[in-house]
Subunit: 190 residues, 2 copies
DNA sequence: GCTCAAATGTATCCATTGGATACATTTAGG
DNA sequence: CCTAAATGTATCCAATGGATACATTTGAGC
């Protein structure tokens, strides 16, 4: 017999997706950290242990959220004729400033995870592939890789210094402009 | 009457210093994270609550450790005639690779802490002052500041990408060489 | 349609951890 | 000396990630 009229069915149906979406939404709303497993479960309407059917432990949840983040980042990078070194940089930087908490989470992972070993996850590989393509000016493979990492490092580093408070910019917009100016002036992207 | 022959006196004498030194030592030995308050207290030989006489909460302890880190970093930067843009970069990079856990902790702080607001802590200011002096080539104040942050951002960013696993270097030494090469090739430091 | 095993979710328990409060022990200044 | 402030301890608490056992659904094969 069906349990008395409860709006929620016993099986959620898409717990994993709902969990990831809920975490991303929270980070978007300004939360700096992952919610507790219990908070997250409560928001979705399940017992906290239910989440462990889909994530081995909390770190696995974090990894999955980070993977979502890289997928969202890839979505910010234009394709086709609009794929240029500058548009990659702009998409990357705008994503970082739009979703600072998510961005931080994505790059806070230890090695042995997503970005590395034995090969980066597909979401990360897509971002790297797009960037490599955009920066490919016909010079050798190594020269292109060097420029990609220099530009990536500069953007990532300046953003992180801002996040840590070292840039001491009056507003996020000014920080964005400052960082973009430094990248343009570096000559890494025309 | 004195408590029966216990080697440890009731008062430690320099708990704060001992605590900071113990944490730094642990990070140096490869621990990635801060120890728990209890572990730390046990190592020093006091009850865990004793530490709260010196640190408001665990975050305050973290901040203090980070401040120690910046002081150690400043110690890696040469003074006098050896203070050049390149020597600053080398000191900075070597510190990061020598003490990756401590380095990460130093830059993992939120804003409103040490690096920012209302003004960076003295340990951080010293590092910035040395870098600014080393990069001062007589061009305007703003141009110097721009170059300092570009170089800092590039070094910090590439190091963090390596730490996250994105560089996929075969060894720390190769990563170090790669990063140094990118910085030299940037033209930010001669 | 039925039945039963696999999938999914719940209830309950546990150890660890950061932190609070009350009390004990020293130390030092008048 | 004596006592107040400083320093450290004992003990308690709530939150949290995680484990184990059990309940509910679902669906594949007969």
């Amino acid at each position: 017999m069906p349990k008395s009229d409860s709006d929620q069915p016993y099986h959620h149906g898409s717990l994993k997706e709902a969990a990831l979406a809920a975490v991303v939404a929270r980070l978007r709303k300004g939360e700096e950290e992952l919610p507790t497993v219990r908070e997250l479960a409560a928001e979705i309407g399940v017992s906290h242990r239910a989440l462990y059917r889909y994530f081995a432990d909390k770190d696995a949840l974090k990894q999955a959220v980070a993977a979502e983040g890289f997928a969202l980042l890839a979505g910010r990078i234009p394709v086709g004729v609009d794929l240029t070194a500058l548009s990659v940089i702009d998409g990357f930087l705008r994503f970082a400033f739009d979703e600072p908490s998510l961005y931080r989470l994505m790059f806070s992972l230890r090695s042995t995870a997503l970005l590395a070993e034995p090969v980066p996850g597909p979401q990360v590989r897509r971002v790297i592939a797009l960037a490599t393509q955009a920066f490919d000016d016909g010079a050798g493979e190594e020269a292109v890789r060097n420029r990609v990492f220099s530009a990536w490092g500069l953007a990532h580093g300046l953003f992180d210094l801002w996040r840590a408070g070292a840039l001491r910019a009056a507003s996020p917009d000014l920080a964005y402009d400052f960082i973009r100016a430094r990248i343009l002036e570096s000559g890494l992207v025309d």
